[in-house]
Amino acid sequence: MKSKLGSLFTALLPVIATLAALAVGAVMLLFLKVNPLEAYRALLDGAFGSTNALAETLVKATPLLLVALGICISFRGDVINIGGEGQMIIGAILATWIGLTLVEWPGWLVVSLALLGGFLGGAIWGGIAGFLKAYFKVNEILSTVMMNAIAVQLMLFLLRGPMIDPVMAERTSKIPETARLLEAFRLPRLAPTRLHLGVLIAVVLAVLVYILLWRTTLGYRIRAVGQNPHASRYAGIKVQRYVVVALLLSGAFSGLAGAIQVYGVNYRMITDGSASGFTGSAGFNGIVAALFGQLHPLLSIPASILFGALLVGANSMQRVVQVPSALITALNGLVVVFVVSSEILRRRSQRRRLAAGKEESPPKPDLPRVPLEEAKQ
């Protein structure tokens, strides 16, 4: 009975971590002389209060889920991909280019090609970092962060120059955006809201990623390399190859997120010139969602909805009680810190269970702890 309570407690750790972050947020709100209850009510209302709000939450959750799926793959392979932002951008650029070029082609074909293009674009951008890690020992955290910055500049260059909307190019004050996609190229909407087909695509992919990770040899090897590169090498797994594959796949999902943002939401590629102008920081927040979902593709679904809700709610909180939505960014950071910190409790209870000799369920894998660099020495 006690161990059941214990495992329930560890399963709920992310929820407790979030509540802790919200509690810290409440203290911060008090300092800002805002009633926390009022602020959080505005947040809830904004996220779930109406059909439109709910649809908006799901629309915001979609890129988070796609990025999170990629993160599940890479983090399970002990590859820390921080490059979601850049991968989204490159995927979106490629997808947008396809839509603006193949104007004569049938809609369904162009959309399919564009989503594939997004997938590929992200895969290339992530794959480069994977290649550099596997064969040149370049720390992937650093290379993906650098590649984010490079992608942002590349996007600004293209949207202000070669890919700018011809109408916009005529004006004196130019918004960096491409021309609109043809109406036939839009992802179909699911209800009389902004909810689009991308939401379903993301959920289906979550199931597929689950199957990939736990029901295929490829997924098994990625996880094996992540858990113990030494043993994997002795078992004949080509460790380097799976590092590249992990980052490649991880990038691909972010790239798809970028493509879906263009084809499902904006119908053009547009930014405000800032680093997160196009992505809305989904490349970072997807990491938060994946960690929250314990790096499990299916748990990442509710996790993404939660963070989508926080983002949508943050805007309504800003409107109603005049608290900048940056508060929610800060709280997201705290959630990450709290979730990784609470891992220690899960490890402890796992150890206790093992020590008691009652290994009822296979132990959940930890977050990757053994850096790959060691395996190569």
């Binding site: 370049v138 650093l142 290379s143 910055a149 600004l156 929610i328 950071g333 220690i344």
Partner: protein, 310 residues
């Protein structure tokens, strides 16, 4: 137009601002060297810098006291370091990810405080250039090396100081042993936890100072996300510099010079798209990491939490 780039005045300008712009890289990079030497990868540098930027700027904006601003930035950085130390040393949290958490926290928090406490972009009177009689008047060299502000000089003094502490003192020996072989260090009575707390808090303090150097000594403004990746480059410089202060100095100078060149290219209106110019330092970071990283060995215990075997 390209030829303008090679006139003496422009060259002096590029070098002088290159020397100046290395400052935040140096403070943050040297701080990160300490924590990595002890086996801790602190990826929260960018967040610590942003909060340092804001703390320094806000204190100077409201009080007008520059040194109080520096102190505030260092204090904020130290507090962030303390939190990072608790999470990574006591709770054994995955260092890379918790660092990212602290980065996102600093990003949001500095933005929130800026919007709530200030709202609009303001400027302050930052640290003035120091005129060194005689030296500052040497043509060319005087402008490049001897008419910078105090925080710039401080960052260069930090390099030999860090080298000395790391290589010639007992403290340095402890730091290195904890980073290379924490078990052995522990068995010899060195407190791994205490050493790591020290280096992480020191790293945070210096990151805060790096932020202050941006907002009250170099740019004299505060804007949302004004570090824009600078803190991450500082972390990369530690790898680039092979965990040696002098190496960090070399990397910092390389970067700041390229940055300075890129700024001057835009000032002179040379037709290179600004985006491509801004991109260059990042591309260079990656290339440099490719060229150097595989040849040097990181501290053995880097990113590994220490847990005493019972």
């Amino acid at each position: 137009m390209i030829s303008e780039l090679f006139s003496t005045t422009v060259l002096i300008g590029i070098l002088a601002s290159g020397i100046r712009l290395a400052t935040p890289y140096l403070y943050a990079g040297i701080g990160e060297t300490f924590s990595q030497k002890s086996g801790v990868l602190n990826l929260g540098v960018e967040g610590q810098m942003l909060l340092g930027c804001f703390a320094a700027f806000y204190v100077v904006f409201t009080s007008g006291n520059l040194w109080l601003g520096v102190l505030a930035a260092m204090l904020v950085g130290a507090l962030m370091g303390l939190a990072m130390a608790f999470v990574t040393v006591n709770l054994h949290a995955q260092q890379g990810i918790s660092g990212i958490g602290f980065y996102i926290f600093g990003l949001g928090m500095s933005d929130l405080l800026f919007q709530k406490l200030m709202g609009t972009v303001e400027t302050v009177q930052g640290f003035p250039k120091i005129h060194i009689p005689g030296l500052s008047d040497i043509p060319g060299l005087g402008e490049i090396f001897f008419s910078q502000n105090i925080l710039v000089y401080g960052s260069y003094l930090l390099v030999p100081l860090a080298w000395f502490v790391l290589n010639k003192t007992t403290l340095g020996l402890k730091i290195r042993s904890v980073g290379e072989n924490p078990d052995a260090a522990d068995s010899l009575g060195v407190s791994v936890a205490r050493v790591r707390y020290f280096t992480i808090i020191l790293g945070g303090t210096l990151s805060g100072l790096a932020g202050a150097s941006l907002s009250i000594a170099l740019l004299n403004v505060f804007q949302q996300n004004m570090t824009s990746g600078l803190g991450f480059i500082a972390v990369a410089l530690v790898y680039f510099g092979a965990w040696r202060p002098v190496g960090v100095l070399a990397g910092a100078l390389l970067f700041s010079m390229i940055n300075s060149l890129q700024i001057w290219i835009q000032v002179l209106g040379i037709p290179v798209p600004s985006e491509i110019a801004v991109m260059m330092p990042y591309v260079l970071t990656i290339l440099v990491l490719v060229a150097t990283v595989s040849k040097v060995r990181a501290p053995s215990a880097l990113t590994r939490p220490f847990e005493r075997e019972d």
